[in-house]
């Protein structure tokens, strides 16, 4: 009898929907059906059935081919390579669980590595703005229950976060928003007419790269000053009308995406957006939120902040203390300057997402990929170690885009012999300790959790 598992978390985007229902085979090895998820999420679950999923590590041979090797050999290679390197770089973590992020930090400390995550190439500028200006935000339930004005600035959830608008932001009927979309005024600020912009009551089609000016104009109007007739290609009247809508809201929610972080101005755009949110709080209640990309990309920011005090670009190579200086200790910049001599890509695809020069530099040195699937990074690696998929065959905590921890579950049994990220990193750490003749430090707390049971009970 197939089993229907309810309340399952989805391992795709930052919406981290946890209302998915998955029908699995009686022996819990196959996913038969996926309900409630968007098309991308559905396919991610079905991918787990793929019979070609790698089951053993693969090591590059002198002739350039990849050959399957046992896990012990892969663990030994990874431990030795990282210890031998002067400054390894560990990057990725958008798509794995927090247990893995916590475990990898032990290796990073041991080997004096730089620890970085995908934020370095997406919401890194948002972090810079948060360092300067704070982050007046809320959980997504607040947006759902209260927001009567929703602003999407430089983001297109209809494609990037397919269920965001139906679960949290536009359509759902919340406690104080019983009429759902009817009760919400939606503003979209985007140079393109995206599918989100088409849903909006007001679409401000600004000139590309002029977000900062427009934010500034919003603030200027809100503070009661005059602005030029046209700012960033938007007529003054439209700006004034939009500001009035936001100011008269009961609860104004601003979502921003990479249209702000990766256009001219970058962190300054977010800085201005945060200031605008703060200014709005003089008149009404307003909140702002970054549209984080992957289902657990908020996770490394949280885990490493509590372990080292920084969310990303963490240089542990000094040994005595952690150091963060984006631009100096960020992955792409380090690689551009050819400053790292070992690269570990975990639960992300640096091969697809980094510019070509950094990849060329990284490729000169040992290149290791830890990922459940084949991807571009795995195919140029010297070593590819497959792991279980967090949220499909491995449970664990993930942080939704609003930093709400969601305890994901495993819906099927993992491939025999394939470890989780956490197990793999713990074994690498143990091997490192053997090689350096030191005692592993788990913290007492670790004893209970080294290999968590998969089932959750309410």
């Amino acid at each position: 009898m197939p089993k229907l598992i309810k309340g399952v978390g989805c391992p795709y985007c930052g919406s981290s929907c946890d209302d998915i229902e998955v029908l699995v085979s009686d022996d819990e090895t196959k996913i038969l059906e996926v309900h409630n998820a968007c098309i991308i999420g559905t396919n991610l679950f079905h991918h787990a059935n793929d019979p070609t999923r790698p089951k053993l590590p693969r090591r590059r041979q002198p002739d350039g081919t990849m050959k399957e090797i046992p896990y012990d050999e892969a663990i030994d290679y990874m431990a030795k390579t990282m210890l031998a390197a002067k400054k390894p770089l560990i990057y990725g973590f958008g798509s794995t669980n927090c247990e893995g992020m916590s475990a990898v930090a032990r290796i990073a400390e041991k080997s004096g590595a730089v620890l970085d995550n995908c934020a370095t190439i997406c919401h890194g500028p948002s972090f810079l703005a948060i360092f300067d200006n704070g982050y007046p935000s809320c959980t997504l339930g607040e947006a759902k229950n209260r927001a009567d004005v929703v602003v999407f600035w430089g983001c297109n959830p209809m494609h990037a976060h397919p269920r965001h608008t139906s679960r949290y932001s536009i359509f759902p009927r919340g406690y104080f928003t019983q009429k759902g979309a009817m009760q919400r005024t939606v503003l979209s600020i985007d140079p393109r007419e995206t599918d989100t912009a088409k849903l909006a009551d007001v679409h401000l089609m600004l000139d590309q790269g002029h977000d900062y000016e427009l934010f500034d104009a919003f603030r200027t109007v809100l503070r009661g000053h005059d602005i030029p007739d046209v700012v960033a290609g938007i007529p003054k009247e439209t700006i004034i009308k939009s500001v009035e809508i936001m100011k008269n809201a009961k609860f104004c929610m601003i979502f921003f995406g990479m249209g702000c972080t990766h256009t001219d101005g970058r962190n300054h755009n977010i800085d201005a957006a945060i200031s605008l949110t703060r200014d709005l709080n003089e008149h009404t209640k307003a909140s702002i939120m970054a549209m984080r990309g992957h289902y657990n990309i908020a996770g490394p920011g949280q885990v490493w902040a509590w372990q080292f005090g920084f969310p990303y670009c963490i240089d542990l190579s000094k040994g005595t203390h952690a150091h963060m200086n984006p631009g100096e200790t960020s992955s792409v910049d380090l690689a551009m300057r050819d400053e790292v001599d070992c690269f570990v890509n975990v639960g992300a695809d640096a091969g697809a997402h980094f510019p070509i020069q950094p990849v060329q530099h990284l490729k000169k040195h040992p290149f290791i990929t830890v990922d459940p699937n084949f991807n571009m990074a795995s195919e140029i690696s010297d070593l590819h170690i497959p792991v279980r998929i967090a949220g499909v065959d491995e449970p664990g905590v993930v942080y939704r885009m609003d930093n709400v921890p969601i305890q994901f579950r495993a819906v099927i049994k993992g491939l025999p012999g394939v470890p989780s990220d956490e197990e793999l990193f713990n074994k690498v750490y143990e091997r490192m300790c053997e090689l350096t003749k030191t005692e592993p430090i788990w913290l007492a707390a670790k004893e209970d959790r080294r290999y968590p049971e998969s089932e959750a009970v309410i």
Binding site: G7, G141, A305, H321, A444
Partner: protein, 576 residues
């Protein structure tokens, strides 16, 4: 817990639970517990000429959870003043890296508390929805035993039940939530005011109605005392009052304390108080504005001293650059309006909110100097030191690593005067406070009451923590102080308390000569209430999830077992 035997020999024992004040003696430990005596093969720790006390207990400290981490994340500059770097030795032995000053990393938090001889720390505010986060941090914090207080006073279920006068339903909901979040007790933060903040409003007085819920802060406080005593939880309600930090707030403070009148503690854990009013320093101000902002510690403590069913903690300002963080969302917005530094806010659906703002307590700014004096005055006016505990509301009034400095000020008038002498506006500060006229100097015995026996009793943990009687946890701190000949220079007291000569936890040596030598065996302490099922509450809770007021699935809401390591569960049984 370490097996085997150990004896701490020949120290000056200070143990208020047994009224021992500096007698020279031994403390024997067997299998992690204090015992009467051990055999001759026991491991000997020489404490001759040193002070021996139980492991200390912190009743209120923000050390783990979403807002603490929001503070760490938004303040990279806090790492520049970490102060202590991982030594070559620590590095070689694999001790984890330490970061941060006012909001230290989890590793530094555990190590620093251990170095000061602390064994138990209560995380003061846990948003229930984000409880897995709090537990993940507690999980990664070494050595210290921890519990966490979920926040209740702005929770929709609580406000709804109490509006209808349904104390039993409130109690059933508390029982369910404590279990779901692995929480310890009932925390109230700005009752009603934080809920109002969801609409950008606040409740400054006890009688301001909460928007939509039409209930007042006074009714929430009273209702939660009733529910807490109905359940007979180990800890009383833990109250962060309304109108925090504002000039002239002390009448509101006393009014809130008066709500406790007539209630009697009902529990089997030895607790006598029904209300713990936390960081009272922030609530003991007079004046109409910042110009005449002054201390009303005397007025507040006059009331506290005669009202036996109240306990308090100080929330002493330590005159540092720090990070304020509280579930009092509207206050943080207000504070940001005063200092214009960065502001982080986290509103949590159905439950609570939180804010974070960096703050620099500058001794040359008169209101800050007044705050400093107010915190110390509260302790100097206190009559029963078993009801008055040392905190800095870490990190709000200063980091917990300044406890030894606070103790220095409390133990030495000279130290206080030296600090006053460095203040630019010392004359004005003296005119607005009483600190200059107060000659009282607390004794180490009183300090032990304020940091050990008192808080342990108030938390209902008096049978295991805070004392050295046989049967209690084998948690012992040894300090380099000669009790019969305390140093004239109070600085030396601070130095001695900052780094324990030895700290033993569960019969295991954790700190030796101020250095951490073991990661010990930490515990997560929480309270599990067994009571008959309440169909109304079960239905209400499940509807909040199924009808979509929450955005998570009810199956993913309760904290899973593996996230809370080494659980020490306190069972409470409520009769039908």
């Amino acid at each position: 817990m370490a097996s085997g035997e150990m004896i701490v020999k020949g120290g000056f024992i200070i143990d208020p639970t047994r009224k021992i004040d500096g007698d020279v003696g031994d403390v024997a430990i067997k299998d992690g517990k204090i015992v009467d005596k051990v055999g001759s093969s026991a491991k000997v720790i020489d404490a001759k000429g040193k002070v021996v006390m139980a492991g200390a207990v912190d009743v209120h400290s923000h050390v783990a959870g979403p807002k603490v981490n929001a503070g760490r994340l938004m303040r990279p500059e806090d790492k520049f003043i970490s102060g202590f770097c991982r030594s070559g030795m620590a590095q070689k032995n694999g001790y984890r890296m330490e970061s941060g000053f006012s909001i230290p990393s989890v590793f530094k938090t555990g190590y620093d508390y251990a170095r000061m001889g602390y064994t138990f720390v209560m995380e003061a505010a846990m948003p229930p929805l984000l409880a897995p986060h709090t537990h993940e941090e507690i999980h990664d914090t070494p050595i210290i035993d921890e519990g966490a207080l979920p926040v209740f006073a702005n929770n929709w279920f609580v406000m709804d039940y109490l509006r209808k006068g349904e104390v039993e339903n409130t109690a059933a909901y508390i029982a369910w939530l404590l279990k779901a979040t692995k929480g310890y007790g009932v925390k109230l933060v700005n009752p009603g005011g934080t809920a109002a903040w969801a609409w950008g409003l606040n409740c400054l007085s006890l009688n301001d109605p909460v928007p939509y819920f039409e209930i007042t802060p006074a009714e929430i406080i009273k209702g939660l005392i009733e529910a807490n005593e109905f359940l007979g939880l180990p800890h009383s309600i833990h109250l962060h009052q309304n109108n925090l930090g504002n000039p002239g707030n002390y009448p509101d403070t006393i009014a809130a304390l008066k709500i406790a009148e007539g209630f009697k503690a009902r529990n089997k854990f030895g607790r006598e108080s029904v209300m713990h009013s936390t960081h009272l320093q922030f609530h003991s101000y007079g004046g109409e504005g910042w110009k005449d902002f002054c201390s009303k510690a005397k007025e507040v403590m006059d009331y506290v001293n005669k009202q036996k069913n109240i306990t308090i903690d100080l929330g002493c300002v330590t005159l540092d650059e720090t990070t304020t963080m509280t579930a009092d969302g509207p206050f943080e917005h207000h504070l940001h309006g005063l200092n214009h530094l960065k502001w982080t806010n986290v509103d949590v659906e159905m439950e609570t909110a939180a804010g974070v703002v960096p703050y620099i307590y500058d001794k040359n700014v008169t209101p800050n100097a007044v705050q400093w004096a107010t915190g110390l005055e509260l302790a100097l006016y206190a009559k029963d030191m078993n009801r008055c505990f040392i905190t800095t509301d870490h990190p709000n009034a200063g980091p917990f690593t300044r406890y030894p400095r606070v103790i220095k000020w409390l133990m030495s008038k000279k130290a206080r005067e030296e600090t006053i002498a460095t203040m630019k506006n010392s004359d004005r500060m003296i005119g607005l406070t009483n600190i200059h006229t107060m000659d009282r100097e607390l004794t180490l015995f009183e300090i032990a009451q304020m940091t050990r026996s008192g808080p342990a009793k108030c938390l209902g943990l008096g049978n295991v923590y805070g004392g050295l009687a046989p049967g209690m946890n084998g948690d012992v701190s040894v300090f380099n102080l000669n009790y019969k000949d305390l140093p004239k220079d109070a600085e030396k007291i601070e130095t001695a308390l900052q780094r324990a000569a030895c700290f033993i936890k569960g019969g295991e040596v954790i700190v030796k000569d101020g250095e951490v030598v073991s990661h010990g065996h930490k515990k997560t302490v929480w309270v599990k209430v067994a009571m008959p099922e309440n169909p109304q509450v079960t239905r209400d809770v499940s509807q909040a999830f199924t009808q979509g007021t929450y955005t998570v699935d009810i199956r993913n809401y309760p904290v899973r077992e593996y996230l809370a390591p080494h659980q020490s569960v306190i069972d409470v049984n409520v009769e039908a």
